[in-house]
Symmetry: C2
């Protein structure tokens, strides 16, 4: 390990902001040193509470994340925020004035915000998000809030790796919103009806209760529904209580162990595939030969499956 | 190749519905025979027009897909529909009455509809979708319509593999929708303002035009904006004309070749990774030893990176 990397590892371990930023940048830029960094930091992980905040654009997720962050800060906790949603104000995606509400978070040294809005992360968005969660965790952050739009397979992978997932809904968006709800019903550990001062909030609560009865598998946990007005920080203590209760359930039921195991499995397998591809293309087969193979498939003298097999046949398992 | 597989290949090649359904089921259920099937069908592909229909739930994508399918049917073309959006009425996700509008499509033998709403496809949703597109293509379908919500990295992968992507918007959904638009602006080849009989349609067209001016890279293609009322089949000929024009551009500019090349590259690499994992876990390392390795990572006696490397060190490249 180079001196610089040792310095970053040390800096993250002692929670220094600059080292934290450098560590995350290494992960995001897919720097070779990131794997070593993460290996070094791994023993320090396992203490943070990892929460997902999922919902469609316009549900007020970012405002809710900001309100929760402030709530945890008031308890003296350090908070990491990862915005996976490309439309989040945290990622600069929104055209609205929401950014203003987040200003005091940006200047709070106990809060670290990172956007993962860039598409096309090598090895997948879920892996990159996981890595950043680990860095926050190793740096001693008490809570990590992961904001994601929740639709899309990769986002579902992200959600699978959090401990408690909050699904955020809003009242009065009409029938169209039903479709959205249907898609994310299965992934909620806690439901939040945000903007609950709007007309129809109770109707939405009833709808969610009804839709929940249609979901077949819940295990022993029946997801509570919490009403919030995030912009006025209303309902946040109730939401916190629901999150704590869910964490108690996770621990008592052994579900937390299962989720941790899943997370480790995903990480090992992602790393396996990635290192494999690095060694095969440009190693087992030269880049030129690989491009020629692509050409052959395009000209239909072979097919993708046989092309892949011809490469694999040169590897000894 | 088994007799049964040969029969399915033959059935798909001659466009028989039953064989088509069986082939898709093999792909979706990740049956070992699927790889052989796809290899056999591959030489028959390359003729279908592949269109993506992308937009948030509630934009009327399914209704638009239905209207387009009817339009192509009137031209005597055969149409394959793949619904990737879990909230699509095609996938049974919606609670609304939309399904009724699709009824005559379900009874038309020149139309084949398949839902890809199930999450957790092995090897990814983009691969599974690609495979089904190939099956439709090999079966001689003239047009394949892929309906996707367009948010999420895996969905973006799906969009990357279509030839022309239509981004569907609706007027009058308020400021919240701006955020959605911002996220999918870069992926549109043609923009559709659907439900254009609602107030504010022209305002939406203006907004899209303005937002488009903010997108840096367009190449030589400036995406046209088409107004439709899909439920009344209004604007569909205009939309078809825009799609044809885009296809001409793709061909003339060499962009079609580039997209095809991308598609082949994704397919080979997905196949490589998948076959690799099959050979490594349960082969190079026994399942028991692998589970033990997982346990070691969980107990923090090692880390995910070093665990993956220890497996890879037994493979000769």
């Amino acid at each position: 390990m180079s001196d610089e990397l040792a310095r970053i590892v040390d800096g993250v371990a002692t929670g220094r902001s600059r080292a934290l930023g450098q560590a995350i940048t290494l992960v995001e830029s897919h720097d070779q040193r990131a794997v070593r960094l993460l290996a070094e930091l791994y023993p320090l992980t396992g203490r943070a509470r990892i929460l997902g905040i999922t919902g469609s654009p316009g549900a007020g997720k970012s405002t809710l994340v900001a309100a929760m962050a402030k709530h945890y800060r008031a308890q003296g906790k350090r908070v990491g925020i990862i915005a996976v949603d490309p439309t989040s104000p945290f990622t600069g995606g929104a055209i609205l004035g929401d950014r203003i509400r987040m200003t005091d978070l940006y200047t709070d040294r106990g809060v670290f915000i990172r956007s993962m809005a860039t598409r096309g992360f090598l090895g997948g968005l879920a892996k990159a998000t996981n890595d950043v969660v680990d860095i926050f965790d190793a740096a001693g952050f008490d809570v990590v809030l992961v904001e994601t739009v929740g639709v899309g397979q990769d986002e579902v992978e992200v959600v699978r790796t959090v401990q408690t997932n909050l699904v955020v809904l809003v009242p009065g968006m009409g029938d169209d919103i039903q479709a959205i709800k249907a898609g994310i019903m299965e992934i909620g550990d806690v439901f939040v009806v945000n903007k609950a001062d709007r007309p129809g909030a109770d109707k939405t609560v009833t709808e969610v209760t009804m839709m929940m009865s249609l979901v077949e598998e819940h295990g022993d946990w029946i997801p509570p529904i919490v009403k919030t007005v995030a912009s006025k920080t209303q309902g946040i203590p109730d939401l916190d209580a629901a999150v704590v209760k869910h964490h108690d359930y996770l621990t008592a039921s052994g579900e937390l162990d299962r989720r941790n195991r899943d997370r480790v499995r995903i990480r090992i397998e992602t790393q396996l595939k990635e290192s494999f591809m690095e060694r095969v293309i440009g190693g087992t087969i030269t880049r030129e030969a690989y491009e020629q193979l692509l050409e052959d498939v395009l000209r239909k003298t072979t097919n993708p499956h046989d092309a892949a097999e011809s490469v694999l046949s040169r590897v000894t398992f």
